[in-house]
């Protein structure tokens, strides 16, 4: 099975976010970057499928040069090769604009399966995989926790709301977006890190993949969220704040 895993590099969790001077995106200077969490599960699912059935795992990522470090991480975990779509304007593109880039890079590869994470931890659109399927005219499943290969295609376990699940059968080629938690993530081994350096990383520019359509969903402005409640912040030593909180819960909120 030839599997393409679309991954995204996002700011590290809990990295301090500062709004840039234009108020349109975050200041990317001094940020640490990481592999998007649900994409890590998509990669894991792909690697396990390859271990069971053979084939090839190709990672695909769009973004500026810094994305290379996240691609190397995926190669170190066991992906066979990579495609880096060089684009510096990802935050200005809408979900369709990004999906067009990825779909154009995927098409000539003719994969059996395309996996991506459910959603990115930065923009959080949760749409890229579904739109890629639409653009490539492939069937898709979203929120997938488990993938099993069958004689005719795939049987997948899909998460529904509030603890419900569903099994879906679909033919290949197909696109699946993977929910976190379905597998245990592996770490890169030292040997894997060494090998990653020799693996193929092909670069294509966004321009080579076709012209971008103007975004229809335009992010005009970002801001700190508005508070929904007035929060009392209790300060002091751990012992003092603990005592103050118990006091408040008993006599002010009256819940104890």
């Amino acid at each position: 099975m030839k599997i393409i895993v679309a991954i995204k590099q996002v700011p590290e969790r809990d990295a301090p976010v500062r709004i840039d001077a234009a108020g349109k995106w975050i200041d990317e200077a001094d940020l640490n970057w990481a592999l998007n969490e649900s994409d890590a599960y998509a990669l894991e699912e792909a690697l396990q499928l390859k271990e069971k059935h053979g084939g090839e795992v190709v990672v695909l990522s769009a973004g500026p040069q810094r994305v290379g470090s996240t691609i190397r991480e995926a190669l170190a975990k066991g992906a066979d090769r990579a495609i880096h779509v060089e684009a510096a304007d990802l935050a200005q593109r809408d979900a369709l604009g990004v999906a067009q880039l990825l779909a154009a890079a995927i098409k000539p590869e003719n994969p059996d399966l395309v996996l991506s994470g459910l959603q990115s931890d930065d923009l959080g659109y949760g749409q890229t995989g579904v739109i890629v399927a639409e653009l490539l005219n492939l069937p898709h499943g979203s929120l997938i926790l488990h993938v099993e290969k069958t004689d005719t295609g795939l049987t997948v376990k899909r998460e529904l709301e509030e603890g419900w699940f569903q099994t879906i059968e679909l033919p290949t080629p197909a696109v699946l977006t993977i929910q976190s938690g379905g597998n245990k993530l592996r770490y890169a081994t030292l040997m894997g890190i060494k090998r990653a350096k020799t693996k193929e990383m092909r670069r294509v520019t966004a321009a080579e993949l076709g012209s971008a359509t103007a975004p229809v969903a335009v992010l005009e402005h970002i801001a700190l969220p508005q508070k929904q409640k007035s929060t009392q912040i209790l300060s002091g030593s751990p012992k003092e704040t603990a005592a103050a909180l118990v006091e408040k819960l008993k006599f002010e909120a009256r819940v104890l």
Binding site: L123, I131, S142, L160, G163, L219, P238, L245, L249
Partner: protein, 323 residues
């Protein structure tokens, strides 16, 4: 162009509250723009659902009906709505932000050359659509550009279901053309993950733990606090993903929805998927080392500090108070 359309869905013959929230959002958009508000219901048998929606203040309700829509498939729903919206091009289409909508609405919008503005938590003048970024640490303001249809989905709890205005509407039927071969996926019956032995929904006190706990070995710290309070122990998704606590203790959109008297969140940053599961709590206490963690936005009381120091101190204080 033909106004604002709201797409409502049912499950087991029931319309859940988020659908009426989407309708309230659509009505608000209608007032803001001066456009008529219409509704779409789709399925194999939509008569009862359509009648329920027709008792709201909308101009017309369209029953998009076909035998192949009896169970949800992304292909079936996308095709049916594509045909309807091509024949009757709307200015706005409003969806409830459910797992089902997330599965097909992005494809539907793309097929019509558009992009879904998903997970909207507020609508401002313009209109502009507000949604969260960076797991709730920032909010972004989106505008739809161009002459095509603007697709949006509204987050659970962002609008009030009881504000969906009543009225009377005409009901019409639209029969899409769908061939069985066009439906490529075969859905099975929904099933429950595991036998539910914990009913967090009924708990009065909940201590909930997140990534900040760092390791499974540290869980006794919060378990002690929960025991002292007589509370149930719950968790955010990453804790259950790691297998540190069973999934039945997960609070959030993919886990349980809770509304206890006291919800004490320890080391949880507060992504929206978690917040939708607990924001109905009467009193929310947050312990987190990051003062910018989004969960503070819905906290009644907050302690900015190291949970490994604060939690044991709190356990001791609770024990003393209960003596």
């Amino acid at each position: 162009m033909s106004g604002v359309w709201v797409v409502l869905e049912e499950r087991d013959g029931r319309v859940s509250s988020i659908n009426w929230e989407a309708l309230a959002a659509g009505q608000r958009l209608g007032k803001q723009t001066g456009l008529a508000v219409n509704a779409v219901v789709l399925g194999a048998q939509t008569e009862a659902l359509a009648a329920e929606v027709a008792a709201k203040a909308v101009t017309k309700v369209i029953r998009v009906e076909h035998a192949l829509l009896s169970s949800y498939t992304p292909d079936g729903f996308t095709l049916a709505l594509e045909q309807h919206f091509r024949s009757d091009q709307p200015d706005y289409v409003v969806f409830p932000h459910t797992y089902q909508v997330r599965d097909y609405a992005p494809a539907l919008a793309a097929r019509l050359g558009q992009v879904l503005i998903g997970d909207v938590i507020a609508i401002g003048d313009g209109p502009v659509f507000i949604r969260q970024l960076m797991q709730g640490r920032l909010s972004g303001e989106y505008r739809h550009s161009g002459a095509g249809t603007c697709f949006l989905s509204v987050q659970s709890g962002a609008f009030r279901a009881d504000q969906a205005e009543a009225g009377t509407a005409a009901i019409e039927i639209f029969a899409p053309t769908i061939d069985a071969a066009q439906i490529r996926t075969k859905p099975g019956q929904p099933f429950r993950g595991s036998a539910q032995t914990v009913d967090l929904g009924a708990a009065q006190f909940i201590v909930s733990v997140g990534r900040g706990i760092k390791e499974a070995d540290n869980l006794p710290l919060v378990q002690d606090l929960a025991s002292a309070l007589g509370a149930e122990l719950a968790a955010s998704r990453p804790i259950c993903d790691n297998g540190w606590l069973p999934i039945e203790r997960q609070v959030g959109s993919s886990g349980q929805t809770v509304s206890p008297k006291l919800y004490l969140a320890v080391g949880i940053s507060g992504a929206i998927q978690h917040l939708v599961g607990m924001k109905g709590s009467q009193c929310v206490v947050v312990i987190n080392k990051d003062p910018d963690a989004p969960i503070f936005e819905i906290a009644d009381y907050g302690i900015v500090g190291d949970l490994f120091e604060v939690v044991p101190a709190l356990t001791a204080a609770v024990k003393t108070a209960k003596q």
